[in-house]
């Protein structure tokens, strides 16, 4: 791990040395991280890469055991394994006016998306969403890169309250493409909002995965009535064709186990740095 940047109380951005991945990484792809020998394989969307330095960066929100544990890693620490870049790269080209919507921790990878869309000559309008004001991340970076930026929070403590304002925005302006990266519920809501306006809406899924290369099938998702795999067919899908209800249910499959894992870890002292002691 080369650099660690704290984005907010529970959100961290890491830059790791992985020259093979950095040389190939493109916006929209992800990596699989295995922290240590007993650890899980977790998929994380690529937030940036530097071919010269041979590094890639990824961000995470501390929810379960693995992400809390990762939050305790520091510069100079080593991960057991990082595999990538996985998944298909985003289709970046000149569309005209692009709406980039990033929510929660997925604001970090949408920055890379904004950058790529700008470089392709698009006019980019960015919407950043967070639960509360304190969880809003990378706003400055988004403002520097985008043509316009709107911010919203669930509780209205900062910017607009919720995403309803999007409807007004879509009434006023015509967009040629919408890219959404965020929690599943947010991607569903945005897809519902853009549908009546006929704006092609691309969502990025980070479903539960194990291998991330087409073997386990846990990341399967129904799109347009067909069973597809998040890892090899995605991670980007048409938001208007995705079966969100099924996706939300599948995301919750192992929730009790995840909570147990987290609890066991915390009550046994968490990590040595003491950040996550119960």
């Amino acid at each position: 791990m080369v650099t660690k940047k704290t984005l907010s109380y529970k959100e961290t951005l890491f830059e790791v040395e992985a020259p093979d991945i950095a040389a190939k990484a493109q916006a929209g792809q992800f990596i699989i991280v295995v922290p240590h020998e007993k650890g899980e394989r977790i998929p994380l969307t690529i937030c940036g890469y530097d071919t010269q330095k041979g590094t890639v960066s990824f961000a995470f929100h501390e929810v379960g055991k693995t992400t809390k544990e990762l939050g305790c890693y520091n510069e100079g620490d080593c991960l057991l394994n990082v595999t990538g870049p996985l998944g298909n790269p985003s289709e970046i080209k000149k569309y005209g006016k692009v709406l980039c919507v990033g929510g929660s921790i997925m604001i970090a990878p949408i920055i890379l998306q904004i950058k790529a869309m700008k470089e392709a000559g698009n006019h980019v309008t960015t919407v950043l969403g967070a639960r509360i004001k304190e969880a809003m991340i990378l706003e400055k970076e988004a403002r520097e890169l985008s043509d316009e930026v709107y911010v919203a929070t669930d509780d209205g403590s900062y910017g607009y309250k919720g995403l309803d304002f999007l409807k007004e925005l879509l009434e006023k302006e015509k967009f040629d493409r919408c890219v959404v990266m965020g929690p599943v519920v947010m991607m569903r809501d945005v897809s519902e909002i853009t549908k009546p306006y006929g704006i092609p809406t691309i969502i990025t899924l980070t479903p539960v995965m194990i291998d991330g290369m087409g073997m386990c099938g846990v990341c399967r998702v129904t799109v347009g009535g067909k069973m597809l795999f998040g890892c090899v067919d995605g991670p980007e899908f048409d938001g208007h064709l995705t079966d969100f209800e099924e996706l939300i249910q599948r995301q919750r499959q192992m929730l009790p186990e995840e909570r147990l894992s987290s609890l066991v870890w915390e009550t046994s002292g968490g990590c040595k740095c003491g950040r996550n002691k119960a």
Partner: protein, 454 residues
């Protein structure tokens, strides 16, 4: 051979078969007739010199015995455990015509285990040829090719997508049939021969085959990426919670050690009533893992017991451990509860049809024979196809559009010059030893190709 008691072993993940003691091995070896024209060797896909290594056991020359096996087989501890010997070498054994054939697999295992306890002996280092080979996948086929080519003096780099080597030996075959420490040992042996193993490197994404050959300077490539893409039934409700592909289930349990959760971080959720759909070795492995995780397991197979494709020994082991089978039945629909978790499975009864021209019996449904089973976990073990990533990212590589397998000739040569393939990626899901056999043939062909290449 001694085994753990069924009641005991059905609750742990320790190896079921305990292996021969020296006395047992000597007694078994003494039965071998050391035939001058050994038939057993003709039944071995990699041509292990069987009578020769058994003779070494008779003479207690164990180091020589294991070296004899390793002239042909780099993974004896694996083959001694998971090869279907009953339908290969042992089926041809002359002693077997009159009674029980020689337990060749158990003797092979005995020597491999002896070597593990007594230390490796590496063959002498070959003269370098200056040729570079990339081997994709560190499973049985890839390990065989890598070992064979490095022994012939080529520089070999092995690319493995997962974070550990071994391929299906690590993620697929359960600990109780093939302990992971043994797999790791075999992988280490291949590295000690001089093969460089690069983990977490998915060919097609991290590097493509054209990149390896153009920029990487590799003179030849072997694709041994296996058959990892799971097949599903297509029945409604298949995406409900609690419906696993065999791969997901086995990867969680074997590779990620979910049986030791929460000491290991990857969980597995398993209910009381598990149904496994399928009848091959993978289905047996899923069933037996489920029992060890505390479930009652029913295997649902659309043909009858006689057609079960799994190894007999594994079927017997599973039944001893408490497996219940429902033959001549197939799923129609999975029914979920209000939380999106599977709670029942609707099935239909099947009957076998008359044999066709090739003597193979088909199946057809019996109208009106639907029935419903209460289940809370379903594992679908009806086969795997090759992963599509390499095919999609390698221009000019011809594959079978239906099965997704890479098209190769009898020695493993693909449609691209210098690119070879073998094992499950070329044949569809098969056995460890047939993948190793394909690896052997490809290695020989690649060696000739490299030697003739300027």
């Amino acid at each position: 051979m001694r085994k753990q008691e069924p009641k005991v072993r059905a609750k742990n993940f320790k190896e079921v078969a305990l292996g021969y003691t020296e006395e047992e091995a000597l007694e078994e070896a003494s039965r071998c007739l050391t035939c001058p024209k050994p038939q057993c060797v003709t039944g071995c896909p990699v041509g292990v010199p069987i009578p020769e290594f058994i003779k070494c056991i008779k003479e207690k020359k164990y180091a020589e015995g294991i070296a004899t096996i390793k002239t042909k087989n780099a993974l004896p501890a694996v083959c001694g455990r998971v090869c279907p010997q009953e339908s290969q070498c042992q089926s041809k054994c002359v002693v077997g015509k009159m009674g029980d054939p020689i337990s060749i697999g158990r003797l092979e295992r005995f020597l491999a285990d002896w070597e593990r306890d007594n230390g490796f002996q590496l063959p002498p280092k070959p003269e370098p040829t200056g040729k570079k080979v990339a081997v994709i996948g560190a499973g049985p086929a890839g390990l065989t090719v890598a070992a064979d080519l490095v022994k012939r003096g080529h520089e070999v780099t092995q690319f493995e997508a997962l974070h550990v080597g071994g391929g299906v030996l690590s993620y697929g075959i359960p600990e109780f049939r093939l302990p992971k420490a043994i797999v790791q040992n075999e992988v280490n042996y291949v590295q000690k021969l001089g093969v460089e193993l690069r983990l977490g490197n998915l060919i097609g994404r991290t590097h493509t085959i054209p990149e390896l050959m153009k920029e990487g300077g590799y003179d030849a490539v072997f694709i041994g990426s296996g058959a990892g893409l799971p097949q599903f039934t297509g029945c409604p409700g298949e995406n409900l919670g609690g419906v696993y592909s065999a791969n997901e289930f086995l990867i969680r349990v074997n590779l990620m050690k979910a049986f030791a959760f929460p000491d290991y971080d990857t969980p597995i959720r398993i209910g009381k009533h598990v149904v496994v759909i399928g009848g091959g070795n993978v289905a047996m492995d899923c069933a037996r893992c489920s029992m060890r995780l505390g479930a009652e397991v029913c295997l649902v197979y659309r043909r009858s017991r006689d057609e079960l494709p799994a190894r007999h020994e594994e079927i017997e082991n599973a039944e001893e451990e408490g497996l219940v089978c429902k033959f001549l039945a197939a799923p129609l629909e999975f029914i979920g509860n209000e939380r999106g978790w599977v709670k029942a499975m609707k099935c239909i009864c099947m009957e076998l049809t008359e044999p066709d021209a090739r003597g193979r019996r088909g199946v057809k449904t019996i109208p009106g024979s639907e029935f419903t089973m209460d289940v809370d976990t379903v594992i679908i073990a009806i086969g795997q196809t090759p992963n599509p990533i390499i095919g999609r990212t390698t221009e000019g590589l011809v594959s079978d559009p239906k099965r997704g397998t890479i098209c190769v000739d009898e020695v493993g040569k693909s449609s691209l010059d210098g690119v070879y393939a073998g094992g499950d990626v070329a044949t569809g899901a098969a056995t460890v030893i047939s993948a190793m056999g394909a690896g052997k043939r490809a290695a020989q062909a690649m060696h000739e190709y490299l030697t003739n290449k300027k």
